[in-house]
Subunit: 388 residues, 2 copies
């Protein structure tokens, strides 16, 4: 919608108004994501925005403790937090109110999260999230299901050409454990892997020896999943690492079966940004340079094995081509009410004249009805400027 | 969904988890309300949950100042509030970012509000709201439009037999002004009106004299709108009160035209609970004893005349008959993927077997596919208990 430039003093940094038509598009998109989740048996829960901080920051919630707004509950005099992530709340619900429902439990959610501070790259302090959690299943089929359902949901809102990036954040640690690399040596290798500095990885791995010697080849293996899996298959991995690689191969095969058109990449020794993951980790990127649309992977939900995906509707909204907006149809004096209701039933918007000065132009209508009740476009040049 | 009894220590008082299937039903219902709003030209905005308290508590926001959680913004070191009502935020957006859009401006919203304390009758501290604001139009047609659109939205989610209660919170003050009733006399009359204590109203009005003498008849006139309007028409009202009564008659006529089946009542001297209303005020009740489903009326949006309605999706959810839930269809080994996709496209949920122990019963499925791909109900007695 046409608007004045935002006044920076008006809203706190990182908090913003979503205006027409983006606010409606975001809401519709979230409901399409939720509908896809529901059709795969994921049942929706809606935890409160605020809860006691000890339950909010338990488990995977510890990863966002520093990003959680806290406030005192005047009723109980205990500290509460405004959720910075929804997964810990779903884990609480699964472990308490839904403890007796047989596993696996498929749950979904959609709502807002708030963060104390934004970053330069991601300044927003309020973010929409829509996600699924599959709790109590350890199989590769479970990991594949959440990734494929997330990809299908993105397809349902019009994202074509997404790519699923799989990482194995426990693989490099398993190799370093097997090689007995600890202390400063381990930190140096981790930093080199984190920076993808092949020369430094080769140097530190050479010094560490043993299973660490596999790291340079695995670093170089990052790319299309089948190629990376072939490199993993060739290596003489220690047992813990072999189990991780075999699980990854099974996940890739199951995702391929469920989502044949999806681009899948695998970066075996990447671990950045996955702080509480216990198995495969996923990132879904949109086509081109639109950035991350979803993240997820395997974790512990309380004591239970779990896997899930969180989609970012704000990022998805930016990546989706703008749909045809609804017609805005001006209803002059004496419009047939049944005709107007029929137009609304087709999904159009009808705008009634409330005062004599209302015109199709002043109400930013795209169409009006002529004397015979036919839809006539309002001449573009006479229309008030619409949204970008 | 079957669950353990809620543990009161788990969540702060007045904050709760919405579980399956209610969470999905609430979300679907909100989107139907929003769709009805959109089809009448109301464009959605999404203000942030948190903003600076000076903008949040301005105008009509002052009415919820005591109910607003406050917290310090670590970025600006200014106080922020968690919204307790959405209308003040929409007023801010209209007055700033949308200042140059021609009036009237039709805006809608849907989201959560939070309150510092619940009451005995309404213990919830997090409430969903979905509403519309019509800003910059003073006509009775504008008031009638928001009431009729709200009633239509409730009809769209299945509420039949709602009733629209109209009150005129400025009418009694206008009569007291005309009669020159002030100070303790005025407070006594207001209290008597508030309690609907006819004897006390008659006694105090008799003492005050003048236009106050009309109060007993107006108190008794509360009831079906046409009867109450007839009583108002008969009285010799002072000019300010006459203008209010004429506006009310025009609103009732316009709502009748737009929503012929709606039950409309009018209570001319009721003013309770409408703290910032400057004209007609509305409450929509569901059929039977389900309570308030929506409130609204005329107010000032910044400096602009405005009228609006807020619907309460949690109350609406309790009033709507439970719809048929989706089928949950178990997909055993070797189910045809195209058949499963076709079932999902019809809106059903399909649940994949992820581990060999998964059964139609353990996944709480209502149906499974037989060898020929036909839907077969799972025998009720073998199913895991479903939700209420």
């Amino acid at each position: 919608m046409t608007d004045d430039p935002p006044n920076p003093a008006l809203l706190p940094a990182g908090l913003s108004d979503v205006l027409p038509p983006e606010a409606e598009r975001e809401a519709m998109l979230v409901e399409i994501l939720a509908e896809t989740f529901a059709r795969h048996g994921y049942e929706r829960v809606k935890p409160p925005l605020l809860e006691f901080e000890d339950s909010l920051l338990a488990g995977s919630g510890a990863a966002v403790a520093e990003q959680t707004f806290r406030l005192m509950d005047p009723v109980s005099h205990r500290m509460m937090g405004l959720r910075a992530d929804t997964t810990p709340q779903v884990a609480r619900i699964a472990a308490t109110r839904l403890a007796r429902i047989p596993r696996p439990l498929r749950l979904s959610y959609a709502g807002q999260v708030l963060r104390v501070q934004g970053t330069q790259l991601a300044p927003a302090r309020q973010l929409p999230q829509a996600g699924i959690e599959l709790i109590g299943a350890e199989s590769a089929a479970a990991d594949a299901e959440v990734a494929a359902v997330a990809a299908e949901a993105l397809g349902a809102v019009g994202i074509l050409g997404a790519s699923l990036d799989i990482t194995l954040p426990r693989l490099a640690p398993a190799l370093l454990d097997a090689a007995g690399v600890e202390g400063e040596d381990r930190r140096r290798l981790a930093r080199a892997l984190d920076r993808k500095d092949a020369a430094a990885v080769a140097e530190h791995a050479g010094r560490a020896g043993g299973a660490a010697l596999l790291l340079p080849a695995l670093l170089a293996a990052a790319g299309p999943a089948e190629g990376a899996l072939a490199v993993l298959a060739e290596q003489d991995l220690p047992p813990a690492a072999r189990a991780i690689a075999d699980h990854a191969a099974a996940v890739v095969a199951a995702v391929r079966a469920a989502a044949p058109g999806l681009r899948i990449t695998l970066d075996p020794v990447e671990f950045r940004g996955f702080r509480y993951h216990t198995g495969v980790a996923f990132t879904i990127y949109g086509p081109g340079r639109v950035g991350e649309l979803a993240r997820g992977g395997r974790y512990l939900s309380g004591e239970e094995p779990a896997t899930g995906m969180t989609l970012y509707p704000d990022a998805v909204l930016r990546a989706v081509p703008a749909p045809a907006t609804r017609l805005r149809i001006f209803l002059g004096e004496g419009t047939d009410a049944a005709r107007a209701a029929a137009l609304r039933a087709e999904g159009h918007a009808t705008l009634a004249r409330l005062v004599p000065t209302d015109t199709a132009q002043s109400l930013r209508c795209t169409h009006e009805l002529d004397g015979a009740g036919r839809l006539v476009p309002v001449v573009e040049s006479e229309r008030w400027p619409m949204s970008r």
